[in-house]
Symmetry: C2
Subunit: 202 residues, 2 copies
DNA sequence: TTAGAGTCCGACCGATCGGTCGCTATAGTC
DNA sequence: GACTATAGCGACCGATCGGTCGGACTCTAA
């Protein structure tokens, strides 16, 4: 029935698939993705859809990469050119809070980058779990770098343990996600900002 | 083949099913539970298994209740008779950290009480999501009660915002779960204790 | 202009999903 | 000792799962 599309249209199709996958996975989880439902919602056949990825696992990886890219674009990239150290760290933290509070269109079920960590943390090793762990480790290193710079520059107390600070910062955002998603708590973003201010020196 | 068992044996069977469900769900998620696999691992038929619960949803609820009970028994009950306020709060927090660090036998995939919150926070309302939210709200209220008592007794600074403190405490334990499950980070329990000490006044 | 590459579909596959039904055999009750 | 309630089984249900295959079709490169 509907024949081959141009390479550009094919790219757009792939794009649509990934976007819808991210949205679906943010609600149902990466394992909750199903080719059939996805194809149905996109008005295309299962085989046509799967042709773009080969296997469900590749589709999951594509959705995960996209989720990570969306996170990065919203939280990291706007701050990239700021001076490393406390200034950039503060900007990143503010963007992070705003992001978790507002990113409802691409992630109707909340940040997939965050939830995929919990979904796969218990599973045996595999491409998806490995990718989840790698992405989170990368993000953690990014935070750590600015923390260390800030400590070295005297912007944070010399006694600061960078890994401890990163650990606690991460917890604040996990708590934000928890409060927003499970309870719809609209005070959580402000609580997050207060907690961060205390951690980084208000 | 195998006929009816005594009421006592039936209760033990039900118990085995729930235990195995909790273990499986801690890895695969409550939605990842499947009657077929469960029955296979327990060496019984699907229909025999389902007879104890009626529907998969009831099985999920039973597993969730059990996970909550295990959590409560490990974290809350040992501290129950301590004096309300900071003393009991500290005991609870210590037990909580130990629990997330060690409870590997009943929860091979990490605390189900914790992960079910992330799994269901994005899903539409329903008995399971409602139960998850209710259990977490109850736990939060329990923490809040001791925090308020501690503030009233002057054991915590008068300026303390109890909900803010509960929010941050929760984040510390979410971060602990994250670090232990995703990275196998063995330093996380100590980081947790340090963070809690700072929050509650070391 | 023609050959190849590649997109998408429809039909189909075996496996598994949650769940139902009729049955057997025993435990508990009178 | 007869009756009943019920634990558990095996066969089966329609739906859906991830995935394969061959063909129809068109874009693109030669």
């Amino acid at each position: 029935m509907s024949p081959r599309k141009s390479a550009a249209e094919a790219r757009r199709t792939r794009e649509r698939i990934i976007e819808r996958s991210v949205a679906m996975a943010s609600v149902e989880g990466l394992e909750g993705l199903t080719i059939g439902r996805l194809a149905g919602e996109l008005g295309m056949s299962k085989s046509g859809l799967l042709g773009h990825f080969g296997t469900k696992e590749e589709l999951q990886l594509a959705a995960l990469r996209r989720a990570s890219a969306v996170f990065s674009r919203a939280v990291w990239e706007p701050a990239r050119d700021l001076p490393p150290g406390l200034v950039r760290l503060r900007a990143v933290c503010e963007a992070w809070a705003t992001y978790l509070d507002r990113e409802r269109d691409t992630f109707p079920g909340g940040c997939l980058f965050t939830t995929s960590a919990v979904e796969f943390d218990a599973r045996g090793p595999g491409p998806v779990r490995d990718a989840v762990a790698r992405l989170h480790r990368t993000w953690q290193h990014r935070l750590l770098a600015d923390i260390r710079t800030a400590v070295a520059a005297g912007e944070l107390p010399a006694a600061t343990d960078p890994e401890q600070l990163a650990f606690e910062l991460n917890g604040v955002y996990l708590s934000l996600n928890h409060a927003v998603q499970l309870f719809g708590d609209r005070t959580a973003p402000d609580r997050t900002r207060r907690a961060v201010a205390r951690l980084l020196g208000g």
